[in-house]
C-alpha cells in the first residue's frame, strides 16, 4: 500500500522527536489508564454497595403500613352529603400484619418478573444474657429461602445456618450481639418480645455483615419461633420480601404489586435513597478527576504540537511554497496528534487494565470486604479509547489549524 505523503511527513516528524512524542503519548497514556482505573473502581464500588444493600434489603418489601382511618368508603356508601363521618386523625396500628400472607405470596409468584418470594416475621426484642440486656430485632425467616435471596451463608463466621431448621429454639445472632453478651455457638440467650413471654434460645451461629448497626441488633430465627416469641399464630407475617429478575425494574414492579395486593410495596430505591445519592456524588467526583486528567493530557499534546510548529515554521512555509495546501498541512499536524493519541491510548488501555488488576489484589479486610472491589467492564475500555482520541484530536486541531494558516511569504522573506 502506498503511504500518503502527508502521513509520511507526519510520521517522520514524530520519529525525529522521539522524546517529545514519548512524553506526549505518556500524557495520553496516563489520562486513559487513570480513566479506566477510576471507572473500574467506581463501578466496582457501586456494584459492591448495591450487592451489599441487597444482602440486607430485598428488591421489594411488602408490608402493612399504619394508616389514618379512611372515611372514603363509608361516605360513598352513605351517599349523603349532609352526614359527615369524623375519625380520629391518628395513625392506627395494623397489628394483624398481612392478612392471608400465603394467599398473597401465591398471587405474587404468578407475577412474571418475580424471582423469589419469602415471608418474614419481624419482632422487636430484648436480648438478655446474665444481667446484660440489649435491644434488637429477630427476623423470623425460612432460612433456606433467605440464604438463596440474600446469601446469608457468605456472612457466617461461626456455626451452620441450616441448624435453624433442625435445632428447636435456634437463633443466629450478629457478631455485635455476640460480643456484647459474650456469647458463643451453643450458648443460651433469653429473648423477650413486647407481646410474648421470655424464651430461652440457643445460639447456633454468628454472622457478620459490614454494617455494624445490623450486627449489633439483628438475629435470625425460624419463622415459627418468631411467631411464638410474639405470641402470634402461624398465619402472622409482617413482611413479604420479593426479589425480581432485574432490580432496576423494582419501582415499576412495586407499584404493580401494590395494586394487586393492596399493601405497601417499598422498592430498594426508596429504601436506599442515600445509596443512590452516594452513587451520584461518586460519579461527579470521579468524572471531574477524569476530565481534568484528559484535559492535562490534551494540553500536553497541544503544547508539543505548538512547539513543533514554531520550530518547523520555515519547513511549513516551504511545504506550502512547494504546493502543499492548507488542508494538507492541517492533515500533517492533525495526524501527528492522532498518532500520539492512538499510541498513548493503546498503552493506556493496557496499563489501565494492569493497574486495575493490581489494585483488585490489594487486601482491605474490612468486614466481608476482603479486596478492593474493581470491575472489569469492557465498555469502560471502549469509552476510554473514544475519549482519548477525541481529546487528542481536539488538542491537535488548534495547532494544526495555526500551521495551515502560516503565510509562506512572510516566513521565507523573514
Amino acid at each position: 500500500m502506498k503511504i500518503n505523503v502527508n502521513t509520511e511527513i507526519a510520521l517522520t516528524y514524530l520519529s525525529a522527536r522521539k522524546k517529545q512524542t514519548a512524553i506526549a503519548a505518556a500524557g495520553v497514556m496516563f489520562g486513559i489508564s487513570m480513566f479506566i482505573f477510576m471507572q473500574s473502581l467506581m463501578k466496582g464500588t457501586n456494584d459492591y454497595f448495591e450487592k451489599m444493600s441487597f444482602n440486607s434489603t430485598p428488591h421489594i418489601r411488602l408490608y402493612s403500613e399504619n394508616k389514618v382511618a379512611d372515611t372514603h368508603m363509608l361516605n360513598s356508601y352513605l351517599k349523603d352529603s349532609s352526614v359527615k363521618i369524623l375519625t380520629n386523625p391518628k395513625q392506627l396500628i395494623q397489628t394483624l400484619g398481612i392478612n392471608n400472607p400465603y394467599g398473597i405470596i401465591k398471587e405474587i409468584i404468578k407475577y412474571p418478573r418475580v424471582a423469589n418470594v419469602t415471608p418474614q416475621v419481624t419482632a422487636n426484642v430484648i436480648y438478655t444474657s446474665g444481667s446484660v440486656q440489649i435491644d434488637g430485632n429477630v427476623a423470623g425467616v425460612n432460612i433456606d429461602q433467605e440464604d438463596k435471596m440474600f446469601d446469608v451463608q457468605s456472612n457466617m463466621i461461626a456455626g451452620d445456618l441450616h441448624d435453624l431448621n433442625r435445632v428447636n429454639n435456634g437463633l443466629l445472632i450478629g457478631k455485635g450481639v455476640a460480643d456484647k453478651l459474650s456469647l458463643h455457638v451453643g450458648d443460651n440467650i433469653t429473648v423477650t418480645s413486647g407481646t410474648g413471654s421470655p424464651t430461652i434460645m440457643r445460639v447456633i451461629g454468628i454472622f457478620a455483615t459490614t454494617i455494624k448497626q445490623i450486627d449489633e441488633t439483628k438475629s435470625y430465627a425460624n419463622i415459627v419461633q418468631a411467631q411464638n416469641l410474639l405470641g402470634k399464630d402461624r398465619s402472622y407475617v409482617t413482611d413479604i420480601k420479593i426479589n425480581i429478575d432485574d432490580y432496576n425494574n423494582a419501582p415499576a414492579v412495586a407499584r404493580d404489586l401494590e395494586t394487586i395486593t393492596g399493601y405497601k410495596a417499598e422498592d430498594w430505591v426508596q429504601a436506599n435513597e442515600q445509596l443512590k445519592a452516594a452513587f451520584k456524588i461518586r460519579a461527579v467526583i470521579l468524572n471531574s478527576v477524569i476530565g481534568v486528567l484528559l484535559l492535562v493530557a490534551g494540553f500536553g499534546i497541544y503544547n508539543i504540537l505548538n512547539m513543533t510548529i514554531y520550530e518547523k515554521i520555515k519547513e511549513i512555509a516551504i511545504l506550502k511554497a512547494q504546493g502543499f495546501s492548507g488542508q494538507a498541512v492541517t492533515s500533517i499536524f492533525l495526524q501527528q496528534a492522532v498518532y500520539i493519541g492512538v499510541l498513548g491510548g493503546i498503552i493506556g488501555v493496557i496499563v489501565g487494565f494492569l493497574i486495575t488488576l493490581m489494585v483488585s489484589r490489594i487486601y482491605i479486610g474490612a468486614g466481608s470486604l476482603k479486596y478492593l472491589p474493581m470491575s472489569f467492564y469492557t465498555p469502560h475500555y471502549a469509552e476510554a479509547i473514544i475519549f482519548g482520541i477525541l481529546t487528542t484530536v481536539a488538542a491537535g486541531f488548534f495547532p494544526a489549524r495555526k500551521a495551515s494558516k502560516v503565510d509562506p511569504v512572510t516566513i521565507i522573506r523573514g
Binding site: E315, L319, K320, A321, S325, G326, Q327, V409, I412
Partner: protein, 228 residues
C-alpha cells in the same frame, strides 16, 4: 506567436504597516516560454516582492496574473497550491531542506504531493535529478548533514522534480561560491535551452544576470527596463 509562460498586468501592491506605501507600481510583464530572465535592482526596490507575487504565494495585490495562459488571480488558496505544485519550482537563497528527511525524500516530497507517478517512479526520477547535480551519492544522508553547496544543489533538484514550466529563484546563488554558481548557472541555461523551461530569478550577482537571456531592471517599485 511565441507562447507566454507568465503574464502580469497592472500589478500594484502596497505595504500597510506602519503606513500604507506602494511597493509595486503598475507592473506589466511578459515572460516567454523557455526564457531565462533575471530581475535586478537595488535592495528594497521591490524585486523580491514582485517575485513572490508572480509565484502566486502572495495574493495581496491589484492587477492580474496569468500562468501558462490560466488566470491565477482570484483563485482559491488550494487551487494556487496546486498550480505551484504542478507548474512552479522554487530555489531560495537558503536551501530550506527539511532536515529530518533524507536528501532523496526531500526531492521526492513535491512529486509525492503531486501524485502523478508511483512511489517507485518518483524515487527513480529523484535519483536522476540528484545525478544531474552530482549529489546522488548523498541521496540517503539526512539533509542537514550536507555541505552548503550540496544542500543548495539538492534544493534545486527538488525544484525540478515535477518538471515545472517555470522555475523561480530568489538569489539562488547567493550562498554559493563561484564554482557552484557556475554549475547552477549552466544548469539553468541548459533547462531553458534544451527543455524549454522558463526561469525567473532575482539576483544581485551582475555576472549571473549578464549571462541570462534578459535582464529586467527595477527601481522604486517600477520596471525601468525590460531588457532586450
Amino acid at each position: 506567436m511565441e507562447s507566454i509562460a507568465l503574464k502580469a498586468t497592472g500589478i500594484n501592491k502596497y505595504f500597510h504597516d506602519p503606513v500604507t506605501i506602494p511597493v509595486l507600481k503598475n507592473i506589466t510583464l511578459d515572460v516567454r516560454k523557455g526564457e531565462f530572465v533575471s530581475i535586478v535592482g537595488k535592495s528594497g526596490c521591490g524585486k523580491s516582492t514582485l517575485l513572490y507575487v508572480l509565484s502566486t504565494m502572495d495574493t495581496d495585490y491589484e492587477g492580474t496574473l496569468d500562468i501558462n495562459g490560466v488566470q491565477a488571480t482570484g483563485k482559491s488558496l488550494n487551487a494556487l497550491a496546486r498550480i505551484r505544485n504542478e507548474s512552479i519550482g522554487f530555489v531560495f537563497q537558503f536551501h530550506y531542506l527539511l532536515p529530518d528527511f533524507t536528501c532523496l525524500k526531500n526531492v521526492m516530497i513535491p512529486a509525492l504531493r503531486l501524485g502523478k507517478y508511483s512511489y517507485k517512479e518518483v524515487e527513480a526520477r529523484a535519483y536522476e535529478k540528484l545525478k544531474m547535480f552530482g549529489v546522488e551519492d548523498q541521496a540517503l544522508k539526512r539533509a542537514d548533514k550536507l555541505s552548503g553547496g550540496q544542500q543548495q544543489r539538492v534544493a534545486i533538484a527538488r525544484a525540478l522534480i515535477n518538471e515545472p514550466a517555470i522555475i523561480m529563484g530568489d538569489e539562488p546563488t547567493g550562498n554559493l561560491d563561484s564554482k557552484n554558481t557556475g554549475i547552477v548557472f549552466d544548469l539553468f541555461q541548459k533547462l531553458a535551452k534544451d527543455f524549454g523551461q522558463t526561469i525567473i530569478t532575482v539576483t544581485h550577482d551582475e555576472d549571473f544576470a549578464r549571462r541570462s537571456d534578459r535582464i529586467i531592471e527595477m527601481a522604486d517599485g517600477e520596471i525601468k527596463s525590460h531588457g532586450k
